[in-house]
Symmetry: C2
Subunit: 411 residues, 2 copies
């Protein structure tokens, strides 16, 4: 049971029935990414604060009726995605001179990234629609989360990755038994090859720019965040941006809650990109359409020169009176260490870029000391040890003798 | 508030008051590891099935009153450890011809291993006792979990690691801001140097063989497992064994539940060691005391030639009519792939060794098809990508051309 009324094209605005079989707008083609339209007046009757008070499902499926999934029996068998921890970051907040800073650690998911939220929905939709193979192209986390979630549900997965993907993420794919196609080319070429293969072999398409269901999975990060904050909306929520789908999902979650009357205002969304790959920031600053850019950052999960979801991402910031900001790779590495040292959370480079953006926004006077700020850490630092090592120094090496140690520790 | 009556020495059996300040038995010295003794008759009044039914704390602190922690206000500020998922492993169960196989994925913890359960207790006890520095020596997970949990609570951490520790684990330590001492020597030498330093500088000691509180944290994995199985006890629970502290904790959890009348029998505990480092298995087979052995296995977390907790480990198996078993490194790697492919769970080598032991025990006729089996995956595979890569093949590499792909996929 769900409350889907239909789909609306993010480009031309045309609406379609809930039984539409196309991934994107039949009128606009692949760029006509669809947005799911819900019957909030009906949803409102079920989804109340009381509903959550009595709900004992501590996974993202506690929000199942707010998504597009249909077969509830499938949800009991998936990996347990979501209900990741939210921490009041006392030490880090103090260091940044922020009164209230909340960190949601979405690296604590079954395959260690936020992307599990989208992949588990994709897997369920594929099975609901009787596919036996699911496919995506990804710089990493979408892929590994798809591989893991597909494995758990007995669905075959074919994954296209650009050959620069970090070893940690590749290993995950192979451990989960996916058929991995490593493409000697850019993310764009990888994406196009996967699209061709999907249409040739009739697989289910998990590419986030194409598939409208994925944003509906990702939005659960916002639903959780707000519920875990006891429905008190932060002033800002920061998230790193690559393809634009995650920030689109973050926005959709807040939008749903507003439509349901569960919150009475939206947080401002801070979209954070890496300096070396920031098509959204450039487009916003120059008030022009997105243009393809280089993919020159160590934060591989957000190194997307041709974002697939421009409309949803731009609207997320615009509709919340939020802001776009860039951070350098050096600042990203610094932030990895800062977050680990002050709060015991280890995020991958793209995972902490949102937080690096908050630091930058504070320095620029954009975020004020009295504001309540939420940050989503999108992926686990263990995914990308090589960059983790860049962020830290070497350990102290000693022979097993206390005298040597004494010298070191008393210096 | 807790129900600690005192401590009992696992060697000489002598009992001590709850206010004992020594880590180990004053009569037996460092080998006299203590066991915490609870007042179960009092604990019983609070800890009932109804208590859990109404408990909304979904972390290991839902079992806080069953541990040795005192200051409840501290518990709200720790990393969120525990309440990791339990999966009915349908596909894997079928493959192994087991009717009911349950996997508890303890890699889904804040620093990605079961050790978080012990470290968070250690950190709380250190703060309760007004220490400002905590120390341990560890092959990896105990250390990284201590570093993360200490960082979150503003406690300084000094960590001794043998210099063979995998990069993933080392990186975690450094990201969390611990002072890391990499010792050119064996685990035994590393341990001894840490012991000397702890006594020299008066730090809190988190070494699991020494500190009786740690088992009380680790036991929460069993408490959870049984509650998540709706109090239905499996016939077997398998866990990998290195130092002996984890299996000791697993046992203690079941023991507590039995004493409280929450279960009416214990599962048989299957202690699994790597062929290349199996002092417990040898001692059991030859019915002799443990002798130091080589540390010759890729499963670094259980490569412990001189286990610190022999008594608790041996009793865990003996008192439950369980069994000891070894697995080869090849089987461990095979099991990593098997678990990933069938269930979407990625465990590190030591993490899946328990499951490899189950496969072995089935082959030997020790575990029967009709039995209910539980397995604890003790650590996340992302911790040790190098061994993950050994367990899988290479991805298929292609140029971005559909024709090349067609050749590969239709072969």
């Amino acid at each position: 049971m769900n409350y889907v009324m239909g789909y609306r094209c993010t480009l031309c605005g045309k609406e379609y029935e809930a039984n539409l079989m196309d991934y994107t707008c039949p009128a606009c083609g692949p760029k006509g990414i669809l947005d799911v339209v819900y019957d909030y007046s009906q949803m409102k009757k079920q989804i109340t604060r009381e509903y959550f008070r009595d709900n004992k499902n501590f996974s993202m499926w506690r929000y199942g009726p707010m998504t597009t999934v249909v077969q509830n029996s499938l949800l009991e068998r998936t990996l347990r995605v979501g209900w990741t921890p939210v921490y009041l970051a006392n030490q880090l907040g103090q260091k940044l001179n922020l009164k209230e800073l909340y960190i949601k650690d979405d690296g604590i998911n079954p395959t260690s990234s936020l992307k599990d939220r989208a992949s588990v929905v994709a897997v369920v939709k594929a099975i609901e629609n009787k596919f036996d193979t699911i496919c995506c192209s990804s710089t990493g986390n979408a892929a590994s989360s798809l591989a893991g979630n597909a494995a758990r549900m007995g669905l075959k997965a074919v994954i296209f990755v650009p050959d620069r993907a970090p070893a940690g993420k590749l290993t995950q794919l192979l451990i989960y038994g996916a058929k991995v196609i490593s493409v000697a080319g850019s993310y764009q070429q990888t994406f196009e090859l996967s699209a061709e293969a999907i249409s040739r072999w009739g697989w289910y398409n998990r590419n986030a720019g194409i598939n409208a269901h994925l944003v509906e999975g990702k939005k659960t990060v916002s639903l959780e965040f707000i519920e875990q904050l006891n429905w008190e909306v932060p002033d800002w929520v920061a998230v790193s941006v690559g393809d634009g789908c995650t920030i689109g999902g973050v926005y959709k979650g807040f939008y749903d809650l507003l439509m349901l009357g569960l919150i009475d205002r939206m947080p401002k969304i801070l979209g954070v990109q890496a300096e070396g790959c920031c098509p959204f920031v450039t487009a916003h600053r120059e008030n022009k359409p997105l243009v393809p850019t280089e993919e020159n950052t160590l934060a591989d999960s957000i190194a997307v020169g041709v974002p697939r979801n421009p409309v949803k991402a731009l609207e997320a910031v615009k509709n919340t009176q939020g802001e776009w900001i860039t951070v350098s790779d050096d600042k990203i590495l610094e932030t990895m260490k800062l977050l680990g040292t002050t709060e015991g959370i280890f995020g991958e480079p793209a995972g902490v870029a949102g937080l690096a953006g908050v630091v930058e926004a504070i320095n620029k006077g954009l975020i004020k000391a009295h504001e309540r700020v939420g940050v989503i850490i999108t992926g686990n630092g263990l995914k990308d040890i090589n960059n983790g090592l860049k962020a830290v120094g070497e350990p102290l090496r000693v022979e097993p003798e206390i005298s040597q140690l004494e010298q070191i520790l008393t210096n």
